[in-house]
Amino acid sequence: MKGPLVCVVDDDDAVRLSIGLLVETLGLPVRCFSGALDLMADGEALQNAHCLVLDVRMPGLSGVGLQERLIRLGYSVPIIFVSAHGDVPMVARAMRDGAFDFLQKPFNEQVLLDRVHDAVLLAARRREEAERLTEIQRRLDGLTAREREVMEGMVAGRLNKQIADGLGISMKTVEQHRAKVMEKLQVESLAELVRIVILSERKGLP
């Protein structure tokens, strides 16, 4: 099945299977794991997962423990916790650490499906954004040092003359670099240029 992958981790066979079948009715591909470590070991599943449905309490690594590890690895994916316990403090911590939602077992399946759906959309959006950023970064990386200097002047709102004086080059050369920057970054206007530079900076890129 093609599409955004949903991973289900629950040590209870029946629960795991039933959640898997349920999510499949959304038309999404599902992978089921009986333990958190099994998922950790499956790089491909982690790579493609758009949503994790995790049991809070499991032998070995718990759902919350898995969440912690993923955060430490810098891996971000919406997590929906399901628990048969009223592990309120644990859940509160999981939510604080960015869990997407928490459902108490047994739950209304429609709520789970809605949340899985939302989570998958969120993950898709995040992925898109991340891909865009990667692309922007790729384009930024394509600039020469001089082009980058000119670009920084443009973003700072300086006139061509000011940039030329600042870099000790001719106005004409500045204009040539400007055109190159617009071309390499695939932007049509100065406003668009400023936007993607700000986007890349917000993400902590150079």
Binding site: V15, S18, L22, G86, K105, P106, E109
Partner: protein, 500 residues
């Protein structure tokens, strides 16, 4: 002979009398001697002959003084008539002696006065008295040696004599005479009265060999102190009625308070344990039920969705299937409510010093540890940040881990050491580690030692660790197995500290 008729009548009467008298003399079980004015024995009855081990014939005509070790008591027997001779020692023919009291009465006969000596052998009674005095002396000696306050209570008069140290406890300044009831029941705390009375009654009625009871005694200043009383009846009358009782009172106030506190803590711990058990049993059950209920709900939901694909053909199945889905949620609701009820009250948290909890638990379980030759080794970080927790529940968890540790070393031939370590952990947590030198977790529980209803103990229900983990998680902490090898197991828990 003018009154001959009379005289014959008189003689006849006298004869009757004598016959009568003789019959009595012969038959009475008491030894009786007839003695004339010169001190000769005129006659001795069979009981007397038996008592003195002499034939009656031999006794007749004997000097009565020869029966007495000290004959001087007989002086003036006829001159100053007495009802009683001083108690003294009498001699048998074979030289053996006995202690006797003698009652005397007199009769007038034609030949002069005769004394009737009624002899009572009181040797046994006298020895009993002597023994009693000796016993009392020993008893007193032992009591005074122990430094206790003494009392000596005459039950018939009610008078009680108490030692200076007893007066000092109560705060009585002088030596004014006292009545027993001025002390008990008068000064016994109302709540202890029933117990005190029971203890006295049981001994007074001879159902118990001693009176032994602790109660609060009111002092002169109105305050109460715990005292331990011991008492023993020293004398009873022939009917077994107690005449005199002596005993001690010891001030055990400080001792009692400490003991009381420990007992209360122990009870508190057990009570909390029971409560937690009920709550956690419900919690564990809820978990076990919620899992299949979840699956049931999900499967029926999946079935309903697949039914859509069949269109009208599935219509007749849709309704019952929907019912199944609804009922599974309803069952979940019920489970949830039951758990809510069992959890009622929730956590009672306050700042808790974990090191103190560890020390308390070591104290509570010391007996068990000693019984299994287990030694505690404490490695407690000082200072350690306090944690916000329900102390009773933490004690429950730690005592559970400690008891598990002790159990784990049951069959270990080597040194049995249970180490408890505390230390500040990561992220503002405080950690406690309990390490035993057992042979590691059993195969059955190794994969998930916290799973409910899985146990290796013959009398266990497999909830201990599950409960512990729930408690710690309810505190926002974690409980896990740090390490388990054939050389031992370490259980670790962490709880958020107040500082963190």
């Amino acid at each position: 002979m003018e009154d001959c008729d009379d005289s014959i009548a008189c003689d006849a009467l006298r004869l009757d009398c004598e016959v009568c008298y003789r019959a009595v003399f012969e038959a009475v079980p008491e030894p009786v001697l007839l003695v004339d004015g010169q001190g000769w024995i005129v006659d001795a009855n069979p009981a007397a002959a038996h008592l003195y081990h002499r034939p009656r014939e031999a006794m007749r005509g004997q000097i009565v003084g020869s029966l007495f070790v000290d004959p001087s008591v007989l002086e003036g027997l006829f001159e100053n008539r007495r009802g009683q001779l001083p108690a003294g020692i009498h001699l048998r023919q074979d030289g053996t002696r006995f202690f006797a009291e003698v009652s005397v009465s007199y009769i007038q006969q034609r030949g002069g006065s005769l004394a009737i000596l009624l002899v009572r052998d009181v040797t046994a009674a006298r020895e009993a008295v002597i023994r009693l005095e000796e016993a009392e002396e020993r008893w007193r000696f032992a009591l005074e040696g122990a430094g206790d306050a003494l009392w000596d209570w005459a039950l018939d008069s009610g008078e009680i004599k108490v030692s200076g140290s007893f007066r000092a406890i109560i705060g009585w300044p002088d030596e004014r005479p006292l009545q027993g009831n001025e002390i008990w029941p008068e000064r016994v705390h109302r709540d202890d009265l029933r117990m005190a009375i029971a203890a006295f009654s049981a001994h007074l009625a001879d159902a118990r060999p001693i009176t032994e009871v602790e109660f609060r005694l009111r002092l002169e200043d109105g305050s109460y102190r715990w005292v331990a009383l011991r008492g023993k009846v020293m004398q009873r009358d022939a009917g077994g009625r107690p005449l005199r009782m002596i005993g001690t009172v010891r001030d055990v106030h400080e001792h009692y308070l400490i003991e009381e506190r420990e007992k209360r803590q122990q009870q508190e711990l057990e009570r909390a344990g029971r409560l937690i058990h009920v709550g956690e049993m419900a919690s564990a059950l809820a978990h076990e039920l919620n899992q299949p209920l979840t699956a049931l709900r999900n499967f029926s939901a999946v079935a309903l969705r697949r039914l859509e694909e069949l269109g009208a053909a599935g219509e007749r199945i849709r309704e019952p299937l929907k019912m199944i889905a609804e009922q599974s949620l309803r069952a979940g609701e019920i489970v949830h409510r039951v758990r809510g009820l069992a959890r009622k009250g929730g956590l009672v948290t306050a700042p808790v010093a974990l090191n103190e909890v560890v020390r308390d638990i070591v104290r509570f379980t010391e007996f068990e540890a000693r019984a299994h030759a287990v030694q505690f080794v404490l490695d407690l970080a000082e200072p350690l940040p306090a944690v916000q927790a329900d102390q009773g529940q933490l004690e429950q968890v730690l005592s559970n881990l400690v008891k598990n540790g002790i159990d784990a070393m049951r069959a270990v031939p080597g040194e049995r050491i249970l180490q408890i370590l505390t230390r500040p952990g990561l992220d503002g947590m405080v950690e406690v580690a309990v390490t035993d030198r057992g042979e590691g977790l059993a195969e059955a529980v190794r994969s998930d030692p916290f799973a409910p209803f899985v146990t290796t103990k013959p009398d266990g229900v497999g909830l201990g660790l599950a409960i512990c983990r729930t408690i710690i998680e309810n505190h926002g902490g974690r409980l896990w197995v740090e390490n388990s090898t054939v050389r031992g197991t370490t259980f670790c828990l962490c709880i958020p500290s107040l500082a963190g």
